[in-house]
């Protein structure tokens, strides 16, 4: 199970990677994609909205289950990764194949950077799922 050291994690199995410009990208962990199985559809209807930490920003449909996606920190949803968006000809299966890379889900503008401190480190997340 991959858990990259440089990322921050949530108990809901999202990861967040802060970019140089104060923006961040958010996805779900390798553990989450393996629990869900093949992801067939991603729905994010919150692009342009400002959401609080732990609010639902979208959902993923896997073959056998549906799972909500939660904001790891407060922020404005800037975009949905078109590479995983079926409506844009993308392939949701990229989340399974490359959950920390091509399968990222949204880009956000962080509004409360101090909330990053509350997130789990890679080691803490590893302890959570074991």
């Amino acid at each position: 199970m991959q858990i990259p050291q440089e990322l921050k994690y949530t108990k809901n199995h999202e990861w967040i990677k802060v970019l140089d410009d104060g923006q961040a990208i958010v996805g779900i962990t390798d553990f989450a994609q393996s629990e869900l199985g093949e992801i067939v559809y991603v729905e994010v209807e919150t692009v342009g909205e400002e959401l609080n930490k732990d609010e639902v920003f979208g959902l993923v449909e896997a073959v056998k289950t549906t799972s909500d996606l939660y904001m790891p920190v407060s922020g404005k949803v800037l975009e949905l990764n078109s590479a995983i968006d079926e409506n844009e000809g993308g392939n949701p299966g990229l989340i399974n194949e490359d959950p920390y890379g091509k399968g990222w889900i949204i880009k956000i503008a962080i509004t409360h950077p101090e909330e990053l401190e509350e997130l789990l480190s890679a080691d803490e997340y590893k302890a959570l799922i074991e």
Binding site: S34, E35, G37, E38, V40, Y41, E43, E61, V63, K64, T65, T66, E86, I129
Partner: protein, 371 residues
């Protein structure tokens, strides 16, 4: 991760599943493989080639004795008298309210000796139910669940795969027929032309200790037939594409055979049986809910326990099972609605605060094409 308070039971193949890298999860008290390579690839392998399933979690009871037939006539809905040795039948056990104790396969091994194959989740309940009702009959019950392993080989190439394993050709068994055989050093093997996928094939009952060697032998041959090991995930999507009931979803202690669309199982003229009066009453008064099949018209997938609502948002029923269909590449579902619902009525499933359109359709969803 959810804490398990009761230790999970293991099939004789659990180490092999883990070594194959299967995604494992708890199901009916067993630690079971959900998928190996992926639900959809395994599903398509079954539709177009073959899949190999560990179904050893299923329960098996032997019922024998001079009144075995009478007893089984009394506790099940189908007609046991019609069942010849060497044949199996799909049947149900009803409770006195007409609800369903379990659905099961009944094998007539000999004139006065039967094998019942029951759902893993119901082993204890069924065992108690049978014990409780057996006293007036001269029968012996034996729970052999832990002694028997069950490997299903399903799909259009299952027969060839089995021939390769046996090293000789044999006549395909007709559906619901079974034979006793020897495979390598393994005996007895009960080869049964049954399954839960809608793609044909066999179910192999073997002594539990022989499960690893049979499984490995099947997997050795699998590649030549494009066959894959398949988990419970694909087992569920396959049965759902056919509209087969799954206990706990389409059948429960509260849902009757009539409501679940299984009236064909009930043989009214065979004499007395548990649940007959309640079921007759239901038939006379009409059922309040009926199992129906639906397509969902968007990409959102209806899931078990979601409400079915009408155009005004009033709840008219509920979804009992739903999935993305790997063959159709669209969401499909089973659910219960009043039988009086007009065929063209606009229906939706409610997911959180949103609702999504459904379209009633006929079973099976799978029409023989799985690209």
């Amino acid at each position: 991760m959810k804490e398990e308070t009761i230790p999970l039971k293991k099939t004789p193949l659990v180490e092999i599943h883990e070594a194959l890298g299967a995604k494992m999860a708890a199901f009916a008290g067993y630690w079971m493989p959900i998928y190996y390579s992926g639900i959809q690839s395994e599903h398509k392998a079954v539709r177009n080639a073959a899949g190999i399933f560990d179904c050893s979690h299923m329960g098996e009871f032997v019922v024998s004795g001079p009144q075995a037939e009478d007893f089984l006539q009394y506790v099940t809905l189908n007609d046991v008298a019609k069942l010849q040795p060497g044949k199996a039948q799909y049947t149900l056990m009803a409770n006195h309210r007409g609800g369903t104790v379990d659905d099961l396969l009944l094998y007539r091994l000999e004139d006065d000796r039967y094998l019942l194959v029951v759902n893993a989740s119901n082993i204890q309940k069924d065992w108690q139910w049978l014990q409780q009702h057996s006293s007036p009959f001269e029968v012996e019950l034996e729970d052999v669940s832990d002694q028997i392993a069950l490997i299903a080989v399903q799909g259009p190439r299952a027969h060839q795969l089995l021939e390769a394993l046996l090293g000789n050709s044999f006549e395909p068994l007709r559906p619901f027929h079974f034979v006793q055989a020897k495979i390598g050093h393994i005996e007895p093997v009960t080869i049964s032309a049954t399954g839960y996928t809608g793609s044909g094939g066999y179910e192999l009952y073997i002594p539990a200790r022989d499960a690893p060697s049979l499984w490995n032998a099947l997997l050795d041959k699998a590649h030549a037939f494009n066959a894959l090991p398949a988990g419970l995930g694909a087992r569920d999507t396959l049965r759902l594409e056919m509209g087969y009931c799954l206990y706990g979803h389409e059948l429960t202690d509260e849902i009757s055979a009539l409501e679940a669309g299984l009236s064909w199982v009930i043989k009214w003229k065979k004499g007395d049986f548990i649940g007959k009066e309640a079921l007759l009453q239901q038939r006379k008064q009409g059922i309040k809910q009926k199992l129906s099949a639906f397509y969902a018209l968007t990409r959102r997938v209806p899931r078990a326990d979601y409400s079915i609502v009408d155009v005004d948002g009033a709840t008219v029923g509920w979804i009992s099972s739903g999935t993305l269909s790997p063959c159709l590449q669209r969401p499909i579902a089973l659910g219960f609605i009043p039988p009086s619902t007009p065929e063209g009525q606009e229906l939706y499933f409610q997911a959180g605060s949103k609702r999504f359109p459904l379209q009633q359709t006929k079973l099976p969803f799978y029409k023989g094409d799985c690209p």
